[in-house]
Symmetry: none
Subunit: 155 residues, 2 copies
Amino acid sequence: MQGKNVSDIIEKYLKKILAEDSEVEISRSEIANLFNVVPSQINYVIKTRFGIPNGYIVESKRGGGGYIRIEKVKLLDNLDIINLIVESIGDTLSYKEGKSIALTLLENDIINNKEVNIILSAINCKTLNTGNKTIENNLRARIMISILNHLKYES
Amino acid sequence: MQGKNVSDIIEKYLKKILAEDSEVEISRSEIANLFNVVPSQINYVIKTRFGIPNGYIVESKRGGGGYIRIEKVKLLDNLDIINLIVESIGDTLSYKEGKSIALTLLENDIINNKEVNIILSAINCKTLNTGNKTIENNLRARIMISILNHLKYES
DNA sequence: ATAATGAAAGTCAATATTAGTCAAAGGTAG
DNA sequence: CTACCTTTGACTAATATTGACTTTCATTAT
């Protein structure tokens, strides 16, 4: 979240706009130029910081008049988004992705700060470590899905 | 306890900042350089002097713009109860036992009903099933202990 | 209409830049 | 001497940056 690397700065820039507008539409090359980075870094920023787990949906178009549009989704307006998140998990989940999901739930007032911490404790790398990363990620996915499914009915 | 060794000096340095700011963010290599030690010694200092028992939480990020952030947290007054429960768990925990722990926490106003349900979702038999009951119970113990440890403080 | 062209964005893998782990070696207190 | 703590460094892991190559789409030329 700090500003020592360009990806974080670009993330902040975009989120600042999204804090007011619920949607941004950018030209990849323009933004890349603005921050003096290679165009594909914009894809990197989007992929790592604006996925469904983070509460964003991204659309884009190539060719002439191309664009990238980032939309902030609201879980309360549309509980189906939780299903999207569950789908995006599939059967494997890293801690980082799990954390993004928990923070998205927090932002949408589905859980509070204490509950974020409970969830993060449960899916923690140290906690879930079994010596096998694949098994760990499968387990984390199952735990997160179980929690999400429960939240669907209780909130 | 005095500054005869570098680890103590680094500890003091960081705690002096934390006495005013409740949070420090450092670059591992910079601090290592500042005190003329190998980078991994910073990890040693953090591990031995800034753990949860000491009232600190540590977050970090690798790669470009990486950092280590140390946050001082406020320990809560339910410490004794939670410590007792943690000790009673050991390294194995059945779902039934886990459920009674969650209910004990509820009775003591350490968590609320929703939080009980989140915990139960996480330690559920179906969620944690790996085909091996022993492993499942070990895992459940680790998850519960991790959650309990985080319930000791506020962030 | 169809094909060629150019202007976007996407993918992926190599490289760079951090921090983490672990165990061996070196000190120090009792 | 022994047990514990500190220091060191080789190896590992995660994250960021870069650029060559690919795909998609609108426009222009035939």
